[in-house]
């Protein structure tokens, strides 16, 4: 009999305690962030989207090699002997035309491994995470700033240079044999 009344007392008392807790929480400010209207500032080092400051790129391809999923693709053309491509912001000479620097964010695994070997720190992660698109191909970001005509010209020049080099080699060969 005592147990019975104790049970009832405990049920009522604990329900009142619980109701007090929920009532207090009714007046606690909500923790919700109303996302599209208000956004939280992400930490500056958050890994959300890769960005390449192409003006600083020296075309060393170290990021391409570091990438474990091969999402970076770089094509280079060597600068001519008397061609000056300028310096990077930390004083390095740019020996290559970077005619293609593509990063496929659909493949990227956000490991951040590409940013460490970069000698000029021109590839880095930005906190922008709102780049969802309806087509996967739109996630392939092109960073090189050469027009197709320029690229065509450079490729042609490179081919001519290679052909000339091969010719010179060919011309040299009989000499060595003789």
């Amino acid at each position: 009999m005592r147990e019975y009344f104790k049970n009832i007392y405990e049920a009522v008392a604990t329900i009142l305690v619980g109701m007090w807790v929920t009532l207090r929480h009714l007046f606690v400010p909500a923790v919700t962030v109303q996302y599209p209207h208000e956004r939280e500032e992400l930490p500056p080092r958050s890994r959300m989207q890769l960005y390449v400051n192409i003006d600083d790129c020296i075309g060393c391809r170290q990021c391409e090699r570091a990438c474990p999923v091969d999402c970076i693709e770089i094509d280079l053309i060597k600068a001519g002997k008397d061609e000056d491509l300028g310096l990077t912001s930390n004083g390095k000479k740019k020996p290559f035309h970077v005619i293609r620097f593509d990063i496929d964010m659909a493949k990227c695994c956000f490991c951040n491994l590409c940013t460490f070997p970069c000698p000029t720190e021109c590839i880095y992660m930005t906190p922008n995470f709102e780049y969802a698109t309806e087509d996967r191909t739109n996630l392939n970001y092109h960073f090189a700033n050469y027009t197709p005509e320029q690229i065509e010209e450079l490729v042609k020049r490179e081919e001519e240079r290679k052909a000339a080099l091969a010719k010179a080699k060919e011309a040299k060969k009989p000499d060595q044999n003789a």
Binding site: Y4, I15, G18, M19, T22, L26, V28, A30, V31
Partner: protein, 351 residues
């Protein structure tokens, strides 16, 4: 003359020129339409309120987008969505029963409005057996729940329906017994008579009479009414984590909306009954506040009780079936029997 007809005549005196049968039909139809409108609008508001209350109790915000101010139009959008949805009836379902169930469950909920007094002069029908009528009509809903659960031809629905039947049959008893104490005090079953018996200020309300016995009777009625309308912690019939959605698992679109509407209408009905029986109905808490009309007080008190129902829902976990039966048969029923004895002795001795 019925008070509703008198009320209509006071409002529009020209009605007395109509033939009597037309006048009665017209007034009844208009009253039914008004109460249906009230039930729907109240349900929309209560669903919105429930979502807001639950959200804030969990430190969330709840609906915030639709309508601008705190998402007030969210439930209107939801209702429109439900109206436009396809009406799906399972292949193996018992079609007539399946179609009838939502209509009956809502009709039973709406029928209780007939005897709820809104003010001194407005009560749809002041029956001399008002309380008895309420008790019988409010247990009609369980037939519809059983119909829906049985006709769905689905094990979850059937389980939910069976649980609902056993639960409502058990909890009818403490409900009736705790209301008998009210009848003992006021000496009438008429809802308007019960309210008139509590005239005066706050302390002459039934809940504060024979202190603390009537307060306990009120708590018993409140707990049992939670079970009657299938609200948490007694929501075993629709226990979503065990039975998907219980008896309305197979319902969609408009028919589901009617079950939902009936649940929230029932919440208001049981709150209005406990307001009338224990909290003085449309009477203001203090005499000097009587310039504010009765409907405000009835609605305000009932709304407060609806809020307490929501508050409990977001506080307590669901009971087990055996705990549910224990609460009804071993706690609430003996207590209400004891209350009847004590209150009737007290009443007789102080007569």
């Amino acid at each position: 003359m019925e008070p509703l007809l008198k009320f209509a005549l006071d409002l529009i005196p020209g009605l007395s020129q109509l033939p009597h049968w037309l006048f009665v039909t017209l007034v009844a139809l208009v009253a039914a339409a008004v109460l249906f409108g009230f039930a729907s609008v109240f349900s929309l508001f209560a669903i919105w309120l429930e979502r807001k209350v639950s959200a804030h109790m969990q430190d969330r915000l709840g609906p915030m987008e639709i309508g601008g101010w705190h998402g007030w139009a969210q439930t209107i959008a939801d209702a429109l969505k439900l109206l436009m949805k396809e009406d799906i009836i399972p292949k193996e379902a018992d079609r007539p029963l399946f179609k009838m169930a939502p209509a009956i469950v809502f009709a039973a909920a709406l029928a209780s409005f007939a005897v709820i007094p809104w003010s001194r002069s407005f009560i749809p029908s002041d029956m001399n057996v008002g309380l008895l009528y309420i008790l019988s009509v409010s247990s009609l809903g369980v037939i519809a729940i059983l119909m829906g659960g049985w006709a769905s031809n689905n094990k979850w629905s059937l389980y939910g329906a069976m649980r609902s039947v056993s639960q409502i049959i058990s909890y009818e008893i403490p409900i009736s017994l705790s209301l008998i104490t009210v009848v003992l005090i006021s000496g009438t079953l008429s809802m308007q008579g019960i309210v008139h018996g509590q005239e005066g200020n706050l302390l002459s309300w039934n809940i504060f009479r024979y202190f603390p016995f009537m307060f306990v009777a009120f708590v018993i009625y409140f707990i049992a009414s939670l079970a009657e309308v299938n609200r948490t912690p007694f929501d075993l019939p629709e226990a979503e984590s065990e039975l998907v959605a219980g008896f309305h698992t197979e319902y969609s679109g408009m028919r589901f909306a009617f079950f939902f509407l009936a649940e929230y209408t029932n919440m208001f009905i049981v709150s209005a009954i406990s307001t009338v029986a224990f909290l003085g109905g449309w009477l203001p808490p203090f005499e000097f506040l009587s310039f504010i009309p009765g409907p405000f007080w009835l609605f305000g008190k009932a709304l407060f009780l609806v809020f307490v129902q929501m508050w409990l829902r977001w506080t307590l976990p669901r009971l087990r079936v055996d705990q549910l039966m224990y609460t009804s048969w071993k706690v609430l029923t003996p207590f209400s029997f004891a209350l009847i004895l004590i209150v009737s002795f007290w009443r007789v001795l102080t007569l």
